[in-house]
Subunit: 152 residues, 2 copies
DNA sequence: CATGAATACGTGTATATACACTTAAATAAA
DNA sequence: TTTATTTAAGTGTATATACACGTATTCATG
């Protein structure tokens, strides 16, 4: 569906401004589609993101701060996301030895299992819905990074 | 900042999968930057979106349903957003005459004023941060729409 | 016309987002 | 060494998101 139909608007002040709205809408769409898959595993987007990050450095543990700085959405309240994952026995908290301020987090066996099953499903869905060539993907990545040039 | 730095990950299974994460991250970034501007006017992203939609058909009123289907994020709880705008006297609710189930919403004078001021500021910020040529904007729009091809 | 289905809005709940604040621990400075 | 500053995690609050549900009204069907 074209953006014009999706948000029922035809007047954009420029292609660049339209691109801004298009990025926001596409992100919402992508989250919605993937959320449906995650829901079957009882996970939210953010919970999955935390598990995926932990897997990235497994079996090395990560402290809350180092999970937070790897999150896609930087304002995620990581301690609270971990609360929910801990309730489901997917991760475990432990006190850090080197720095007593830190809490280190590790994946449990069921955390690893649910992550693997979810990732397989999610990657399949990704391939199914995002029908782009490698070349197009590369161009898209370049343009998105150009959008964020003036990062501050 | 490159995506790799932003989420501190270098291993993506494909350019397309990376593009997915890039879209999510760029959307978060865009929302964060614009939120700072909106905050000076005491508005949230969603509240601004509702005002902008109302402006689009002004002075024609819109019912809640017709606002909802124009929102970028389709699951927005429009009645509740309107509650907050109404408290700030930026919009007004009225009962529909044709269909008693409907509530029609209109902008107040201060709603129009705050919208215009905010839009001017926001467009300025947009031009400042999104340094893309018209051609690049067009390509980006095409690619994003291709991403959403398999919409269902 | 009467009844069931669909629609529009609003409410309720769990989780997330954004951000300010608190507390404890570590580090830097006097 | 003592004090001040910074840092890490967690808590609190307002709003948003996602979704189920309730109520009133309208539409469709028998």
């Amino acid at each position: 569906m074209k953006l014009e139909q999706a948000i029922q608007s035809t007047k954009f002040s420029s292609e660049v401004q339209k691109a801004g709205l298009n990025i926001l809408y596409t992100a919402w769409w992508l989250k919605t589609v993937t959320s449906k898959e995650l829901k079957e595993f009882g996970l939210t987007h953010e919970q999955y993101n935390v598990l995926r990050i932990l897997k990235g450095s497994h079996p090395e543990q990560l402290c809350v701060k180092n999970i937070a700085c790897r999150m896609i959405e930087k304002n995620s309240n990581v301690p609270r996301i971990i609360d929910r994952l801990e309730l489901k026995k997917l991760v475990k908290r432990a006190n850090s030895i080197e720095d007593k301020r830190e809490t280190v987090i590790s994946l449990t066996q069921s955390g690893i299992a649910i992550l693997e099953a979810t990732t397989a499903r999610l990657n399949g869905k990704f391939d199914e819905i995002m029908v782009l060539s490698d070349e197009e993907g590369k161009t898209l990545n370049q343009l998105l990074e150009k959008v964020r040039t003036k990062e501050n």
